[in-house]
């Protein structure tokens, strides 16, 4: 194999690559390599095709569906050393980056040029741009600014057999042929290895306001959010945390979150100062009309950042309560939020399971997280059954089994139920055309 140093093969080196951020999934790879450019990626893929060795693309391994978990005997292709921010173009409002750069590194680099890259997944400090594109990650600002897909203008991809291709450009409009690059966004490392991306940037918003509303009942919080959307207000952030999650987050962050309520909603509006003032006033009004117990306005930017960072820590903080955290990613039309929350609460109650719920409420994206212990097999079985019920209800309400974390291994068994046979067949055929030998991330998403 023509890989640059180091090539990791010892047990001590490989064990830490056997998993990602997903609970209860683990498999040792055969080796780990760190390509430094597209050329090296290409050579590795050609070798893999000759030798029939599975290649697992990997960023920082913060994924929550097992997308970068190895298959037996595979080579993990870790892209974190391909991490330069190549060009911030102030005239065209774009940035060109290598895909191993972290989301935060990109946000900081463009921030220095007074520009703004909005997608901010909870994991942004460590997740790579490659992982973000491959999962089409969302974030706390998805409601107003959209998800990663909305910012990808071009990309360099190494196809499974080793061809290097560039798709897209700095033009705002482009309808030359199929929009192929879109197929690679959210492809979870199954169709190609993304080595460079050209991202769209926007000017930094002039003003922003962050607020925290507390509720005595979760359903009231959900209703409030549906009402804000129905009132045609699109703030940049509408995040939600339930009682269990609030307590865990406060234990970590110590920022004085209210502990005596059933739910909090974190709201942020940004843009022109006058619009910000008006939107925040209207949101406060709606919160009060829907029975919130209090509304607190962040006094300055420091507090606003603290609140957002605390929210980002929610998922990991839940591990304070139980060693295994099985996280869901269901998303429903926003009119159905209260119904979905009610359903989750009932399932947890009847099945006697502990659950913490948080999520990107404004996107209709919920993360009910079961707090359990993977060694307690009886309880794990109950969790599995509860998941099935939640998935069924989601689909019944016109929702999706995954809003942003992807299918990977964790949601694979639910995908046929979501997509139906025809869609699945077209996807299979597309994958076979690009990767006839099946070397790239085999077994992920579907077989």
């Amino acid at each position: 194999m023509m890989a640059p140093e180091p090539v990791l093969t010892s047990k001590e080196d490989l064990i830490p690559y056997a998993f990602d951020g997903t609970a209860a999934l683990s498999q040792m790879p055969g080796a780990v390599v760190f390509p430094r450019d597209a050329e090296q990626v290409s050579r590795l893929l050609q070798w893999a095709n000759r030798e029939r060795v599975p290649i697992i693309p990997r960023g920082s391994g913060s994924g929550l569906s097992g997308g970068s978990v190895p298959t037996p005997g595979s080579v993990v292709m870790c892209l974190v050393k391909l991490d330069r921010v190549l060009e911030v173009d102030r005239k065209n409002l774009t940035v060109m980056v290598e895909t191993g750069a972290t989301t935060e590194a990109v946000a900081t680099a463009v921030g220095a040029a007074n520009l703004f890259y909005p997608p901010d997944p909870g994991s942004m400090k460590i997740s790579t741009i490659g992982g973000n594109v491959a999962e089409n990650s969302g974030g706390l600002r998805g409601l107003k600014y959209g998800v990663t897909r909305n910012y990808v203008m071009g990309m360099e991809v190494v196809l499974p057999q080793g061809e290097i291709v560039w798709m897209g450009n700095k033009c705002v409009k482009d309808v030359a042929g199929y929009n192929l690059k879109d197929v690679f966004i959210g492809s979870e490392g199954t169709l190609g290895v993304i080595t460079r991306v050209l991202l769209k940037l926007i000017p930094k918003p002039a003003a922003k306001k962050t607020m925290l509303a507390t509720f005595a009942e979760m359903e009231k919080a959900a209703e409030t959010i549906s009402a804000i959307i129905a009132a045609q207000i699109i703030p940049c952030t509408l995040e939600f945390l339930d009682r269990t999650t609030i307590k865990c987050v406060e234990d970590f962050a110590h920022i004085g979150l209210p502990l005596d309520c059933d739910a909090i909603v974190l709201m942020e509006t940004d843009g022109h100062a006058a619009v910000v003032a008006e939107e925040s006033a209207r949101m406060e009004q709606i919160c009060r009309a829907h029975g919130c117990t209090s509304v607190h306005v962040a006094k300055d930017d420091t507090e606003a950042v603290q609140l957002a960072s605390a929210r980002r820590a929610a998922f990991s903080a839940l591990a304070r309560v139980a060693p295994t955290t099985i996280l869901e990613d269901v998303t429903v039309p926003r009119s159905e939020l209260a119904q979905m929350i009610r359903f989750i609460q009932n399932v947890a109650k009847t099945d006697q399971l502990r659950v913490g719920v948080f999520g990107h409420m404004g996107d209709g994206n919920l993360h009910p997280t079961f707090l359990t212990d993977e060694r307690n097999h009886a309880e794990m079985e109950k969790v599995e059954k509860a998941l099935h019920k939640i998935i069924e209800e989601t689909i019944r309400l016109g929702g999706t089994i995954t809003g942003e974390h992807g299918v990977g291994l964790a949601k694979k068994r639910f995908l046929p139920r979501q997509l139906g046979e025809t869609q699945l067949r077209v996807m299979r055929e597309l994958r076979r055309v690009l990767d006839p030998a099946g070397v790239l991330n085999p077994g992920k998403m579907f077989d």
Binding site: P6, L8, S10, K11, E12, D13, I15, P16, Y17, A18, F19, D20, G21, A23, F34, S60, G61, S62, V80, K81, T102, E104, S123, K125, I126, C248, V249, D251, F252, A253, A313, A314, F315, S316, A317, L318, A319, R320, P323, T324, T325, D373
Partner: protein
Amino acid sequence: MDSTNTSAVSRLKGLDYRVLQQCMHCGLCLPVCPTYNDTKMERNSPRGRISLARAIADGRLDLTPEYAREMYFCLGCLACTSACPAGVNYAEIFEHARAAAEEARLLNSPLRRLIRWFTVKWLFMDLRRLLFVGRLLRFYQAIGLQRLIRGSGVMKLFPKRLQELEAMAPDIPAKFSAQLIAPVTPAQGTRRYRVAMLTGCAQDLIFSEVNRDTVEVLARNGCEVYTPPRQSCCGSLHGHNGEYALAQELARRNIDQFPPDQFDAIISNAGGCGSHLKHYAQLLEHDPKYHDRAHQWDAKLKDVHEWLAFIGLAPIKDLQAPKQKVTYHESCHLCHGQKITAQPRQLLKAIPGLDFVELPESNWCCGSAGIYNITQPEMAGKLLVRKMEHIKATGASVVANGNSGCLLQLVNGAKQTHQPTRVAHPMTLLAEAYRRADKAAGKS
């Protein structure tokens, strides 16, 4: 696996449910880990190290020398514990992992054995030995032998590592703590508290003036300070280097010497020591004779910044105070180990004439990390260069820091990079400010 190896493995197994499984491998600790930042390889990250410990506990990996080396490559800076939302107790994993490595005698080269025996088991077990070596060093420096030897080029005959070590040898002050500080220093004004001050070992050897300044500041703030001349090491060096039994012995000695019920507070002025000193209860968990007192001890143990901020610093009035631009480098074990970040800044800002500037990456390890700069010079060197660059960029003439190991590392850093920056403990800056204020008041 032989029997020592089995018992060492059981040390990690004992941790399993409580701490190992707590890590849900989200990776949020990766960006703050200096070793991961440098190599970008998972095994050099907190998440990776925890997964290896867990693999050993689960029986998927033997306790191997490779693993032991990894745990000695870890700085033990605990930045990961500040970043971890899940509350993983990495400090405990770290100490048990190193202890397991020592028990299984995994890294057994004769040179390593000698160095460890000399430092961990002999030198730092008895203050008299340490002071004796200190005197020897002082003598060596005072008679100009150091200059002579350095100038003669004799050192060049020795292996590079030894040359570097020689260059790192600290300047030993003319007097040790016991010669500078009375066993009991009365409070100035009304006595509000009775406290004990731990003079430390390395601290005492190299920074005895810092101890004197600390006692002075405490006394000026209504504390009667009890400072017996012969004290023991806190045991952190032992705890962090896999010598659990010795660490326990030192903990017992300290509890005996400073019965916690006799003081309002037991004060440490070194971040690294304080962080360890606050966990005697955990260390003596299975010692029925000491367990209760160890709990009391932990509750009474206060870092000096924490204590002064808590009791309220007596104001310093000085209109003529000279202007000085000061930045602050945080000791890992003060900010990550003890979560004390606001208080030292607050105290520094109370100094008249002082212009406080934040240091970028102030809570990023400087590479000192106990004896890490001796055992892992390459990584330590990189971290020091990074630190010195940031300090330079602030334009500060003084960098303040509350831990002897870091102070020493920074002094060396300034020397190496020819930076004129002064390195000082906040207590020294405070004591100077009080003295200046006295003088100014006396004159007017």
